[in-house]
């Protein structure tokens, strides 16, 4: 084994000065005037972000998050020139199925922490030993503790190849992959690449439909509703997407220099999660597992690692890859695929769309509750979906 393929243990210890500087900057925030509307139609509302800032500067404790991460086995290994950080938790059960889960934007491995227990230790969380997974949770290149690629070209396809190498390096000869958001793009790419050992995928976001609705059925009530939701997203909800896909560096200057700018940018993802988080912040109303501390753990991770610009760049990479592939047919998806549609998602994927995108669809289910950040918001429900989605592949 050459030194380049070595796996190093990783422990997190942010310097106190970085945390103090963060608090100072939040306290010194200069605010714009209040929005002129009574909803989110002009963006993140002043009352929401001011409450977030107050809690962040005075009550929030980063060290608690650090302790939670350091309680898990973390590693780094260099793949294709980039240092990849990952959490790796083996199940106590012998026949556990290895599973690699990819987070998205504006997320990180923080989104996935609450599913570690239920997935690796099912008997303690309402499942049986046959449901056990060995879990690998990598940070995307340019995100969290993975390094920032110094060259362009790190699109979902390249990340997918790196993940296959990671699983090979960990000695897994049979494994499955899961993802939502950008993680769905990476997981979809893995499925199409079908590396040796990959048995199938599960997605909680039908990412493929967002980019190209032209070939999808549009007849039933569900199909028309999904189309309308995508159209709404395109016209009034996807500005962050366009900015990150075309000008990640420009927005990056603000995301690295102002904690509140970063927090606002990250809160403004989708309508459902925005209002849930906003209610948690301003009214103390819980939204599943999306608590003040969990939301701020994730934002603080982006701040302390200074990854606002490098994370945004993944959208640019996706855009470049899509432009380069223009006109060429996608690599066919032959592996088994499972899809769970969560009701608060940007659009509720109809089964017909999942069948169209993944001809070998082995599982489809509409969850009772939960939205875009399914693992984060509803870890137990998400876990049950992942168990059900992969049961036929064991």
């Amino acid at each position: 084994m050459s030194s380049e393929t070595e796996i190093h243990p990783f422990r997190l210890d942010m310097p106190g000065e970085a945390i103090a500087d963060l608090r100072r900057r939040i306290a010194a925030t200069r605010w714009p005037t209040r929005e002129l509307v009574a909803d989110r139609s002009q963006g993140v509302q002043l009352a929401t972000i001011q409450e977030l800032a107050r809690y962040w500067a005075t009550e929030y404790d980063w060290r608690a998050c650090e302790g939670k991460l350091n309680a898990l086995p973390q590693f780094t290994t260099q793949i294709d020139g980039v240092d990849i950080h990952f959490i790796h938790v083996r199940s106590a059960h012998a026949d556990a199925l290895p599973l690699i889960i990819t987070h998205g934007w504006p997320g990180s491995v923080i989104e996935l922490l609450e599913v570690v227990g239920p997935l690796t230790d099912p008997t303690a969380h309402g499942g049986s030993a046959e449901d056990a997974f060995d879990l690998v949770l990598p940070s995307l290149p340019g995100y969290g503790f993975s390094s920032d690629p110094a060259e362009d070209g790190w699109d979902p396809g390249r990340i997918a190849r790196a993940w296959a190498e990671l699983m090979r390096r960990l000695g897994y000869a049979r494994y499955v992959a899961q993802g939502g958001d950008q993680g769905a793009a990476v997981t979809d790419a893995m499925g199409r690449q079908a590396p040796a050992g990959l048995l199938g995928i599960h997605l909680n976001f039908l990412r493929e439909a967002l980019g190209n609705v032209s070939g999808l059925p549009a007849d039933s009530r569900e199909e028309r509703a999904a189309l309308a939701a995508i159209s709404r997203f395109s016209t009034s909800g996807s500005a962050y997407f366009q900015e990150q896909a075309t000008r990640p560096q420009t927005i990056g200057y603000a995301l690295l220099d102002s904690p509140v700018a970063l927090a606002a940018w990250m809160l403004d993802h989708d309508t459902d999660s925005y209002y849930k988080i906003s209610r948690v912040l301003t009214g103390g109303q819980p939204a599943g597992n999306l608590t003040q501390d969990h939301v701020l753990d994730n934002i603080t991770l982006y701040w302390l690692t200074g990854t606002g610009a490098s994370a945004a760049r993944l959208y640019w990479e996706g855009g470049q890859a899509a432009a380069a592939a223009n006109g060429q047919p996608r690599q066919e998806m032959k592996l088994p695929a499972s899809v769970t549609a969560f009701p608060g998602e940007i659009f509720l994927a109809p089964r017909s769309w999942a069948e169209k995108v993944y001809p070998n669809l082995i599982y489809f289910h509409e969850a009772d509750r939960g939205g875009h950040f399914a693992a984060w918001e509803e870890p137990q429900l998400f876990t049950e979906e992942v168990r059900a989605g992969f049961r036929p592949l064991r």
Binding site: T29, R30, W31, P32, T33, E35, L36, V37, Q42, G43, V44, Q45, L46, I49, D148, P149, A150, E151, D152, S236, G237, S238, A239, Y240, Q242, E243, Q244, A245, T246, R247, P248, Q249, T250, I251, G252, Y253, A254, L255, L256, D257, S258, V260, A261, A263, A264, W265, L267, D268, G306, G308, A309, S310, R313, W316
Partner: protein, 405 residues
């Protein structure tokens, strides 16, 4: 009243305005620039991911160490500035009367990411043409307002301040100044405001000049919306404009953000001067390339580093980047396309600057401005025509409005 050289009675609603920023705000700006936390360098060798780190470093260094806001303040304070409340909003404006008796009153509207700073270099050539290559018969009285939400004008506290409403306010302003015959000019947002004024035809408005023509026919806009290739029957000039508008429609992150999420980006623009400066640099590709060169030490027409930072500092010190961005939202909720044919029937004049991000073909321009009295393609210059090529734009305005005097 002492400044009232033309002898008209001043409206009591018009108050003189003098600018004096508190020193603490200026010092805080410098401190924040010095404390900026830069991202890593972009992994590409061009501007394809946005404003490049080297350019922002050049700008930030100069801004924090050599730039002097007080010089800009003195420049503004050397001009007659006023404030007047119209439709519930305090409107700040510069008002310079020509020494020549028959001067034609002209109201000039700036755009985004600009301010009245853009227009300072055309004041002399327009009001005092005899000293600047023109004759007394070319003289203008010049009114240069700050748009609502911009610079020293008030920030609207309610929605509704779209270009149409601003246009109505400008007509009130000109009336309040006692002008019964006048013309209007603008590029960028200023072109939309000028066209709105022309459609409203307020009493006294004789005609308009724009340095950005809104001229795309409705059917062509439909093709752009659908992502179609340019229709085969377009002329070469129309095809060029088609490509430019299509590019602008799909590669304008800042426009989409400001059109749908001005508040979200506002937290950036209010809290980090470097974040704000980068945002303001990233308007269109050609302008950006010039600005990158400028901060690397190369000239950009008449625009200096100090000029550019005067404008950025104005946005910062007045904390107006969010209220300025809201104009895009306001336009978006009207459902009107900025590039759509202006549909103007008053006399209109158009100058096309070759480096503008959309160069209007004459054919479409004639259909959009039904009474086109002047059309010219300037030899040089781009989006910030008044700022970059003040002499050239002044000559264009003289030529364009000669027929309306």
């Amino acid at each position: 009243m002492s400044a009232d050289t033309a002898g008209m009675k001043a409206d009591p609603a018009v108050r003189p305005f003098h600018l004096d920023m508190v020193e603490e705000a200026v010092a805080d700006l410098r401190r924040r620039i010095a404390a900026w936390r830069p991202p890593e360098r972009e992994p590409v060798d061009d501007q394809s991911q946005g404003v490049q780190l080297a350019t922002v470093r050049d700008l930030a260094n100069y801004w924090a160490t050599e730039y002097d806001w007080r010089r800009c303040e003195a420049k503004l304070n050397a001009l007659p500035q006023f404030m007047t409340e119209i439709d519930g909003i305090d409107v700040h404006f510069i008002h310079v009367r020509s020494p020549h008796a028959d001067a034609l009153p002209l109201i000039v509207s700036h755009g985004w990411p600009g301010s009245v700073i853009e227009q300072l270099k055309i004041i002399e050539p327009l009001t005092n043409p005899a000293e600047h290559g023109g004759s007394a018969s070319d003289a203008f009285d010049v009114v240069i307002p700050s748009l609502p939400g911009y610079g020293f004008s008030g920030k609207p506290a309610a929605t509704g301040w779209d270009p149409d409403r601003i246009a109505r306010a400008w007509a009130v302003l000109m009336q309040r100044l006692g002008y019964t015959r006048y013309v209007t000019q603008g590029g960028d947002w200023g072109t939309a405001i000028s066209a709105a004024m022309a459609r409203q035809e307020p009493e006294g408005l004789l005609g308009i000049h724009v340095n950005f023509a809104q001229m795309v026919p409705p059917d062509v806009l439909g093709h752009i919306r659908n992502g179609d290739p340019a229709p085969a029957d377009l002329s070469d000039a129309e095809k060029r404009a088609y490509g430019q508008v299509a590019f602008a429609t799909y590669h304008r992150g800042y426009g989409v953000i400001q059109g749908t999420r001005p508040q979200t980006i506002g937290y950036s623009l209010a809290d980090t001067p470097v974040g704000l400066a980068a945002w303001l640099l990233d308007h269109d590709e050609t302008t950006y390339k010039h600005l990158a060169q400028l901060f690397a030490g190369h000239p950009y027409g008449a625009i200096t580093r100090d000029d550019w930072l005067d404008n950025s500092s104005l946005y910062w010190l007045t904390n107006t980047a969010t209220s300025a961005a809201r104009l895009y939202w306001q336009q978006a909720v009207t459902g009107k396309n900025f590039y759509a044919a202006a549909n103007v029937s008053l006399p209109a004049a158009v100058t096309v600057f070759p480096e503008e991000y959309v160069t209007a073909p004459r054919s479409w321009t004639e259909r959009a401005y039904h009474k086109l009295i002047y059309f010219n393609e300037a030899e040089r210059g781009g989006h910030f025509a008044a700022w970059e090529q003040p002499q050239l734009l002044s000559e264009e305005l003289r030529a364009a409005f000669r027929a309306l005097r």
